[in-house]
């Protein structure tokens, strides 16, 4: 496909809550993120649940690919939304809630990675690029292992910028805002990330 216009971000539709007050859920589903955040600011923590339902999967995706560990990603989801709840006063409706939550999530990821570097013996198995056993390793696992090995060679900023663009479909300005860097720096991080990934992956896939 020569056109190659990637949109990314496949889960932006509002999920149906699978339990709780159905009548109220319908009302919340029609609410914008901004309106829900306003309610949380006014003390209605129930509205926060719907923000968690809408955004926890994308935070998990980012966190898992940043850290390579499912349990770390679960912890980052928790930390991200705890921080978001405490800082909800600082959220301004001018920017998208998803950009704001990515910014918090990216910071949580970086904190986690920094802490991990202080105790390097606890590297999660998913980031250790081991040679795939020929028989029992499924293709999916092989892709995961190869890719996580390649992602691990990127700097934190390159990896975050790449993941936000490639998997979450964020615009360059959103990525800059989420990572607290300029748009030029965001773009250059993506360029460097793609170059490093190609160097490692071309011919292996």
């Amino acid at each position: 496909m020569i056109e190659g216009h990637r949109v990314g971000g496949t889960e932006n539709a509002l999920p149906m809550p699978n339990r709780g007050d159905a009548q109220q859920s319908k009302v919340w589903m029609a609410e914008t993120d901004q309106a829900l955040a306003s309610r949380v600011r006014a003390g209605d923590s129930g509205a926060f649940r719907h923000l968690v339902e809408r955004h926890s999967r994308s935070v998990f995706r980012l966190a898992f690919r940043m850290t390579g560990s499912e349990s770390d990603a679960d912890d980052i989801v928790q930390d991200t939304f705890l921080r978001a709840f405490r800082q909800i006063e600082t959220y301004e409706a001018r920017s998208a809630f998803s950009t704001w939550i990515y910014r918090i999530a990216a910071n949580c990821c970086l904190d986690m990675l920094r802490a991990r570097r202080r105790r390097p013996q606890e590297l999660p198995e998913a980031l250790v690029c081991e040679a795939p056993g020929p028989d029992r390793m499924a293709l999916a696992t092989e892709v995961r292992t190869t890719l996580s090995g390649a992602l691990a060679t990127l700097s934190d900023q390159e990896r975050a910028a790449f993941l936000l663009r490639h998997f979450e479909g964020c615009s360059i300005s959103q990525i800059g805002e989420s990572l607290g860097i300029s748009e030029t720096a965001a773009k250059n991080s993506i360029f460097r990330a793609v170059k490093k990934l190609r160097d490692q992956l071309e011919g292996r896939f």
Binding site: I2, S56, H166, V194
Partner: protein, 228 residues
Amino acid sequence: MTGPHLTEERLVEIYYGMEPVPDHVAGCPDCAGRLRKLETVLDRVTEDPLPLRPNLADEAWSRLEPRLPRPRRQPLLWPRAAIAAALAAMLTLVFFAGRRSATPTPDAAIDLRQQVLLLALGQHFERSRILLTEVAHEQDPATWSGYRRVAAGLLESNRLYRQTAAEAGDAMFNPLLDDLERTLLELAHAPDSEWLGLQRRIREEALLFRMRIVETRLASNSDLEGGL
């Protein structure tokens, strides 16, 4: 063939849809081949499997909910009946405190009445300030009718507080209560067409700032004589 060969950066921009595919690609087998190679690698990256559990959001919420700090204040959208009941309770307290002023310790009774009123006023200012802050920044017209209802409820309370404060001989809040009442009245009845102007006025006027100052002073129970 049009123009020079594409740089690596340009190919990445094209892949991610930041730039349109230039005509050059159609006429240059070299660049078309490089773009295809890039697509092959990056498309494979997309296939990376994720341990995305179907009920991840529910699990996250169950773990998160007990860890959330308790809200510091009541939900803004109180039903009108709840506001009325809270106010009635407050007025009853003030009334009994007033009757106790016939006892031999009038100063203590007046102190109590003052304190009850000040506490209730502090909460009223806080609730009003939260409402006005939200209104000032709310961009979704679907929420406006809800805010009108809340404003109408707070307007009712505001009138009673003003009256009570006047009866208690407490005129120091009157300027602020008067200005707040005017804004709440406007807000309760503003048609959509006047909403933007109202939002701007709330942002520009000093009302929010004045309420915050009074709240801080009421909370710290410090000197209220400095004027409002």
